[in-house]
């Protein structure tokens, strides 16, 4: 069997790794601070992969593993779309497609005090930020950004929510703009909220715009740029 423990990290960047692969050997890199993102674990001097996916590197020092699944593993500072399941005295229980339900403290809103706790009915869709996400504990969410302002977080009104894989939601949020969104945006006007947990919400003035946008995004996962543009044109022709 080939011994894949090569010491140069460049050999693994942008290539597929599986759990157990040692992707970085710290003994050869001294006096550097490295930031490890999702899917990587430190074992003394070796950084090994915990998820299967592609190893990515961002200058100067960020490494992480990118993979696309239907399940979501909560990560701090992710923006997600959650559904209210229950409300308790101190927290709302929110479903974010993770292994456990997440807690949203009732005070985690801009200007939130005990007197003006919002009332969400069961099934309300919220745009939230993940504050704490530790293994084995329920994640904690918030409806404010780091400085305490509301900043677009909170309940979403009307529209239609559908589920995708986590890879597709990352592509939709990436820059440059995803080709399917660009092609749709040229002809239709709609509002969209993407959660990194694999949920996307679309709202527009007329129902058929929403349906076309939702179906175009759902179909675009495995298509290349050119194919996505062709698919969108095909869908738009059918409604006009």
């Amino acid at each position: 069997m080939e011994n894949k423990q090569s010491s140069s990290p460049a050999s693994f960047i942008d290539s597929t790794v599986v759990p157990g692969d040692v992707v970085l050997d710290l003994s050869s890199m001294t006096n550097q601070t490295i930031k490890l993102g999702g899917g990587l674990r430190q074992d003394c001097d070796a950084i090994s992969a915990m998820k299967a996916g592609t190893l990515r590197f961002l200058k100067p020092n960020k490494y992480w593993i990118e993979s696309s699944q239907k399940r979501y593993v909560p990560c701090v500072e992710d923006t997600v779309l959650g559904i209210v399941v229950d409300s308790k005295a101190d927290n709302f229980l929110i479903d974010i497609k993770g292994p456990t339900l997440a807690f949203l403290p009732v005070l985690a809103f801009e200007g939130g005090t005990r007197r003006n706790i919002p009332k969400f009915e069961l099934g309300t869709l919220l745009y939230l930020r993940v504050v704490k996400a530790n293994f084995g504990m329920n994640p904690e969410l918030s409806c404010t950004d780091a400085s305490g302002k509301a900043a677009e977080f909170g309940p979403l009104k009307d529209g239609y929510m559908f589920e995708t894989s986590t890879g597709l939601s990352r592509k939709l949020l990436g820059s440059p703009t995803c080709p399917v969104l660009e092609a749709l945006g040229k002809k239709l006007s709609f509002e969209i909220a993407v959660g990194l947990n694999g949920r996307v919400w679309v709202n527009a003035a007329s129902p058929d715009t929403i349906v076309v946008a939702a179906n175009a995004i759902m179909n675009s996962e495995s298509l290349s740029t050119a194919q996505q543009i062709i698919m969108v044109e095909h869908l738009l022709k059918n409604i006009q």
């Binding site: 559904i83 399941v85 229950d86 229980l93 479903d95 993770g98 292994p99 456990t100 339900l101 009915e121 099934g123 309300t124 869709l125 979403l156 009104k157 009307d158 529209g159 239609y160 929510m161 919400w201 007329s206 129902p207 058929d208 929403i210 349906v211 076309v212 939702a214 179906n215 059918n238």
Partner: protein, 306 residues
């Protein structure tokens, strides 16, 4: 309890309202028209009597087997037909393993009624020795993926597997002609079941608003709709069964409209099933032709035993 809550599938308030609003403009969330079926694909396994049907995202497998048993006392000349359903937990987070739930039993009953009451399968031809030996045909339906409208998909799968099932040929023998000899398939060609017609189940969804009516609901639409009705009709226009399980009340003219729609849909689905079965039979025949060079070895051995 919290673990179970985390796994359940939920519909948001936004989705519920959107599905109903869009239906008022005759738009469904997957782009279909209200009376349009999803794409049906029928595939068969290598063995006779096994079929897999995909209706959009819904996937169902059906297996037909037969056994020689003693008939019921009050029906000594008729064979038996029984349907078993299994809702696999991998199909939907709300399906639990173990005893069939309400939905599973209802699905089994609808399909059973469609086949039995309309006498689609000829049970008298399943009798070998009156009062002693008859064939009991057993249909096992496994739900693999719940994308909505399990009844229609399961019905198509059951029909497709019944049409491709072959039972061994048997003859009477022994000293007093009271023994049944079952011939293995290599000796005598197994026989198909006698199916007179194909009862197709068509499911309708009703909403609070009387003007909204749709066919073949998806999973989301099923969670939002207020009533459902399954009509089992065949291509000749005979109504084999109707099942309306609770929910919103509907006026008589809506029911008549549904029956008319169902008859037209049944014709096209029947044609699809028959085409798929014919393609499978052709392929099966071709496979048997290729088997001939090897079967001479089997023949020689059997001649020695006889």
């Amino acid at each position: 309890m919290e673990g179970r809550l985390a796994n359940a599938w939920r519909l948001t308030v936004n989705d519920k309202n959107f599905i109903k609003t869009a239906l008022l403009s005759e738009i469904r969330i997957d782009g279909r028209k209200p009376f349009e079926y999803r794409k049906i694909s029928i595939k068969f396994g290598r063995e006779d009597g096994s079929s897999e049907v995909q209706l959009g995202q819904t996937r169902v497998i059906s297996i037909v087997t037969a056994q020689l048993v003693q008939p019921y006392r009050d029906r000594p000349k008729e064979g038996m037909l029984s349907i078993f359903t299994e809702f696999s937990p991998m199909a939907d987070p709300s399906f639990e393993p173990g005893r069939p739930g309400e939905l599973a039993v209802e699905l089994g009953r609808i399909i059973d009624r469609g086949l039995r009451e309309s006498r689609a399968v000829d049970t008298e031809s399943l009798c070998i020795l009156a009062g002693k030996f008859v064939w009991a045909v057993r249909i096992d339906i496994h739900i693999l993926d719940n994308g909505g409208n399990l009844v229609d998909a399961a019905n198509i799968a059951a029909l497709a597997s019944l049409l491709t099932f072959r039972r061994p040929e048997c003859s009477l023998g022994g000293e007093d002609g009271q023994e049944v000899i079952v011939h293995p398939p290599e000796i005598r060609e197994p026989l198909p079941l006698m199916v007179h017609h194909l009862p197709i189940a068509i499911t309708f969804g009703f909403f609070n608003n009387e003007s909204i009516l749709l066919i073949d609901p998806t999973h989301n639409e099923e969670a939002v709709m207020n009533g459902r009705m399954t009509t089992t009709v065949n291509a000749n226009g005979d109504i084999c069964a109707i099942q309306k399980g609770g929910g919103e009340g509907v006026p008589q003219r809506v029911i008549m409209q549904c029956l008319q729609l169902a008859t037209s849909k049944a014709a096209s689905i029947t044609k699809q099933i028959k085409d798929a079965v014919e393609a499978f039979n052709t392929e099966r025949a071709l496979r048997k032709i290729k088997r001939h060079p090897t079967s001479t070895g089997v023949d020689v051995r059997e001649k020695q035993n006889q």
